[in-house]
Symmetry: C2
């Protein structure tokens, strides 16, 4: 695989329209071809301008890229402004997630698919990158079951929520994404996903990015947030965990805090299904993606 001095891999293009069958799932055809999925978190402080600079540079080098982004913090602000403040619920297994009733879903789509997605597409277009913004429900890019009954714990009591639009990604429309990549576009993806019944559903962005990386046979998944990587003592940035070798993930999960556990579980799933490595890295710095590929942040697997 051809690598330049920054440690990023370069795309060697195969003949136009040839090797279609091999390209169908994005894996390398005749020539070497790598694929990178970049997830941009939705927390405060992440620098979209710096990320767009880096993405544009990678595209110029011929890198084959898919971007996935969130929009959580801005959704919270807009929901407050629109008089429908955010609510977070805790599942019986201890994970926290956004309560997504119909009105929340509308606000969620306004922010994720509207302001954030088109903002990123415009930033990339200004840099000459032909980005194309899509939600997971467009073209059934991210499909899976909607959890029509969510068991939660509220004030110590178990409850069932039935009007929630939350789900997970089981299938990725890799064929659409590969067609867009082959035609020279940079797909910029965001939740919601779509249920098998055709309903929009809020899904975890990190897990959706991992599923996308798996479906496309990505060499690397870079997850950018507003901290330098996984932190042993969140939010103490000096407690950065530099790497977790594949063989030690299980042991690590035993001691990890809930917040970190969910992220590492996503990484574990991606690695188990063929993604080369997962890097949790800082989205507030210059060249954030290339730094991550050089090993800054928390490298899992690889």
């Amino acid at each position: 695989m051809a690598r330049d001095e920054h440690g990023t891999a370069e795309l060697v293009r195969s003949g136009q329209g040839q090797d279609c069958e091999n390209e169908r799932n994005g894996r390398q055809a005749g020539g070497m071809r790598i694929m990178l999925v970049v997830k941009i978190g939705g927390s405060e402080g992440i620098e979209h301008e710096l990320i767009a600079d880096d993405l544009a540079e990678l595209v110029r080098k011929g890198e084959r890229l898919i971007v996935v982004h969130g929009g959580s913090a801005l959704t919270n602000r807009v929901a407050e402004q629109l008089g429908h403040p955010p609510e977070f619920v805790t599942s019986v297994s201890g994970f926290s997630s956004r309560r997504t009733d119909r009105r929340t879903l509308e606000i969620f789509e306004m922010v994720y698919c509207g302001q954030v997605n088109k903002g990123l597409v415009e930033r990339l277009q200004r840099r000459g990158v032909n980005a194309i913004g899509l939600a997971g429900l467009d073209g059934r890019i991210w499909q899976g079951p909607r959890k029509d009954a969510i068991k939660i714990v509220r004030n110590g009591r178990r409850m069932v929520l039935r009007d929630d639009y939350t789900g997970k990604v089981e299938k990725v429309n890799a064929s659409l994404l590969v067609s867009l990549l082959d035609a020279g576009y940079l797909p910029v993806l965001t939740p919601p996903a779509i249920s098998y019944e055709g309903e929009a559903s809020n899904v975890d962005g990190d897990r959706a990015a991992a599923a996308t990386a798996v479906a496309l046979g990505a060499e690397a998944l870079v997850i950018l947030s507003n901290v330098p990587g996984l932190l042993e003592r969140f939010p103490d940035e000096s407690s950065l965990i530099r790497n977790i070798p594949s063989g030690r993930i299980e042991k690590f999960l035993e001691v990890a805090a809930d917040r970190m556990k969910k992220k590492v579980m996503g990484a574990q799933e991606a690695l188990a299904q063929g993604v080369g490595r997962v890097v949790f890295a800082d989205g507030r710095v210059e060249r954030p993606i290339r730094r991550a590929l050089e090993g800054e942040g928390t490298v899992i697997g690889g």
Copy 2:
């Protein structure tokens, strides 16, 4: 051209992947192939559920369709709620348009590309139609100049606005749209468009739909709003103008009110560049598109 009892034309599919060169601009290849562009207005009262029913039925019949939509009324409401109320300016040539500063553009994208676009995509997906929602800036679908200085009249005085994000569509990425249609997707398009410099720009939805119909060689352009068509005495619905033959458009423009003039000028442009007919029709009724194709509303050309 094969037509069913409802007066809609049916698609005769050519072989998969064949006739690529002829398909490039969407015009008929070996088999007869028609193309329909449907514009859904953004005023109050338009029934998205009924429109989605009709679109799904047309897709089941094999119709080749592209949807374009607005979101003006909802944008006004959300802009009020977010404390950045809408403002409309009048150009020196007498046309009214939305003042689109940066903050308005964000709100515009939230509503058009977020809530309305994804709401329509979900409605279509629930009906089994594989819709894919895109803004004009995605993949540079609608490209043109941004008007970096807008001459307006305010309180009787001429002024120049310089920080406005308004533009027009000069180029349509027909190749992307045709690829999506050929792969079985229904594109659902919405402003903003993109400037040649890569900036998002607010464009008139009717004119963008007309440009799309021209670029794809559409047989018909149906423009749905919350009135039965063009009205001689707006908003008196009994004053519906039933048709304007191509030869009489010029004469008609001399007497038309400003609001109607802009719409008819768009239709005139479309007809002059090869679109078969333009129908202004009611978006509040059952089977709105098929009714329009049967001649209900205002038929221009054809």
